[in-house]
């Protein structure tokens, strides 16, 4: 019996001797509460003595494929690990490529990137909350999460032409422009979401049952969060003020006004609250964007000039879409390397691209937020109750395909 377990027993108000009964459980990969992940759990009574997180069941070798494909080919590839958050996955990669290429992005495109990214963040958080809800048995939270996400997915579909695999961001800008219809849709969706959030509070966040399952569960102190390298809402739920949007503003975030919710407790409930408030902040950001977005081009001049004039007339003046010049098919950026980070829905996303001057990256390193949650989860799972495995898993918003890449 571990000390931690003993302490837990006492804090739970059960000061009894527990006769050690050990056993092993294989949670996953074929288990309703594991996702594409195997967690090897050694139980002592109801307490998890040891948990080993074993990812890799959905590994798709993005990094290896990245070394064998042209830069442009990687756009749909890097968004595959987390198609629910594909805008961010894409954005980080494109920023790295732009850095190597030395391209400036026009203002309007920057705003549009933020616009798509925030919608993606809301959708990702709703998805995460839905998964957390069903993990603790709350089926309404699950369905609402997915149902409300649909609203945002519709906007992304109208904007980018695809529901989830958007491939929206390209080097030098974005592919499509905002139309009045999308602005109207966004305005309505923001109103709707604000209204719905009140019901979310009633049935999910303030539900005593949900509180009981999340409060004081999986506590990660500030020191631990820093030491283990937690990211995103998990980090901010532990009282660390760190958000790439503030630390190193990209896209249009330096010109947008928003707050970073930070909670001190570090338990599952704090993490959920952070996600919840981030949705509200994202709604504010969206409103600011549709109000303040400047007019102008959505593709860098360097590439815009290369578009044949007849096509420019048809697509840009007709449908407010830019098309790609032939340059994109196989461009060769100069030698160099770039490290970029963006704040994806689940946390910080880091790309390290090394170019050797050929049409393919020499090395593409993709560090996704869930990848960095593996170690956090492994540590958090020690000494908790078996039933808390799922609430910790859910509250970390761990997404196996994203971790495996």
């Amino acid at each position: 019996m571990t000390d931690q377990a003993e302490e837990l027993m006492k804090s739970g108000g059960m000061e009894i001797d527990v006769i050690p009964v050990s056993g092993e459980l294989n949670v996953g990969p074929q288990h309703p509460g594991s996702g594409h992940l195997r967690i090897y759990v050694r139980l002592n009574g109801d307490i998890i003595e040891e948990a080993q997180v074993e990812p890799g069941y959905v590994h798709r070798a993005v990094e290896k494929l990245g070394e064998n494909r042209n830069y442009i080919h990687l756009i749909p590839l890097v968004e595959r690990p987390a198609i629910l958050d594909s805008i961010h996955m894409n954005l980080g990669y494109i920023m790295a490529v732009e850095k190597i290429l030395g391209v400036d992005v026009p203002d309007r495109a920057q705003y549009l990137r933020s616009f798509a990214a925030e919608i993606s963040r809301i959708a990702s958080h709703l998805y995460g909350m839905g998964i957390l809800a069903i993990f603790i048995g709350h089926s309404t939270g699950f369905m609402w999460g997915f149902g409300d996400r649909e609203v945002w997915v519709q906007i992304l579909e109208a904007l980018t032409g695809a529901r989830i695999t958007n491939s929206y961001v390209i080097p030098g800008g974005v592919r499509r422009d905002l139309t009045p219809t999308i602005v109207e849709m966004t305005r309505k969706a923001v109103t709707y979401m604000r209204r719905k959030i009140k019901d979310w509070e009633n049935i999910f966040l303030n539900n005593p049952n949900v509180k009981a399952r999340l409060q004081d569960v999986g506590i990660m102190t500030r020191e631990q969060a820093i030491e283990w390298g937690a990211v995103g809402p998990n980090l901010r739920g532990s009282g660390v003020y760190y958000d790439v949007r503030k630390v190193e503003p990209y896209a249009a975030y330096s010109r947008l006004d928003f707050e970073i919710p930070v909670y001190k407790e570090g338990d599952g409930y704090a993490r959920t609250l952070v996600r919840f408030e981030e949705i509200q902040q994202s709604l504010n950001i969206l409103e600011q964007i549709i109000r303040d977005i400047p007019e102008g081009q959505i593709l860098s001049d360097r590439f815009f000039k290369q578009i044949p004039p007849t096509r420019l007339k048809k697509w840009w003046e007709g449908q407010r879409r830019v098309v790609m010049p032939g340059y994109y098919a196989s461009f060769r950026p100069p030698k160099g390397e770039a490290v970029t980070r963006v704040e994806a829905g689940r946390g910080e996303l880091l790309y390290y691209v090394v170019s050797d001057g050929s049409a393919k990256p020499y090395r593409l390193r993709m560090i996704t937020p869930s990848y960095r949650s593996i170690y956090v989860m492994q540590n958090l799972l020690k000494g908790v109750r078996y039933a808390d495995l799922v609430s910790i898993y859910g509250s970390l918003d761990y997404f196996p395909p994203e971790a495996d890449r």
Binding site: R213, R385, V390
Partner: protein, 353 residues
Amino acid sequence: MMNLLFDLRYYVLYPSFFNSVIYPGLIFTAILLLTTIWFERKAAARVQMRVGPYYASKRLGGFMQLIADAVKFVFSEVIIPEGVNPTLFALAPVLAVAMSFIPLSIIPVSVIPPSGSVFSIYFRDFYDPNIGMGVLTGLFVQYNMLLILAIESMYPVFVIFVAWVTNNRFAIVGAVRESYLSVSYDVLLIMATLSMSLEYHTLDLAKIAQSGIPGILANPVAAIVFFIAMLMGSARFPFEIAEAETELVLGAYTEYSGFLFVLTMAGSYVGNLVYALVFTDMFLWGWYPLSGFPGALLTGLKASIVVFFSVFLRAVYGRYRIDQALRGGWKYLLPLTFVSLFIGLVVGYIWIP
């Protein structure tokens, strides 16, 4: 011919047969069970921005979906895992369901007036001296409260048995949880029932219902405790702890498939109905002021509403952790039952003759 019909009617309506087979026994329970599951899915769907069962019968709002599901389950293969005793594996869920059905033939669902009702011919056979009327029940016992609780508390034993024969770790964990829970909710049920029996000076459910004083007004604390214990006892949300899909796959029933799985699922719903009937008799006036067959229908209606409400909670709650449920039971609800005992004593002394 007429004689034959009369004989047939005599045997069919004989409460020992009628109550245990037709109403509220096997047939009614089977129908109500399907309706409950249908309602559960439909109600959860309404709350959750969905439609729920629909295409199996559009006019009936997808009611036939349940029949289709049942047919599918009956014809799907029953997989018997390696290393289990096949006989016991097949027998365990059957025993569990059988056990959960037995109380239905003891619960009084109505009274038989001396004349004027189809059941009046059995007035003498089922005469209850406590209320001076016949009681419509399969097996008339003056101490039916005790008997129902005793039989119902056997049910978890069979759930544990089910888990034990499957030789699956998740099932064992589920069984352990069930055994912890059953101990704590049984105490609550017994204490709540006891406070009612003190209040009404009887161990006969029929007398409580027939007294015309609704228990929910006379002793609301006992009603709350009984209702929560009922949710625990029949594994309804937020106490669906022993099955806990995302934690334990399906708890004790993990290894079951096909028709045996239907049986395991039926067990908890029948248990819910039994508790709901007791709840109706004890707290919601039962059949009062009706009697005979209409009274029985009224009891069934009230019990159905109780069942429907308890399955509706699926759309509102997640599940508690086992230690939270136990702490809630022992630390908060058990003291409440003492309060209800006290209320029972005082109110019973002042108000109820």
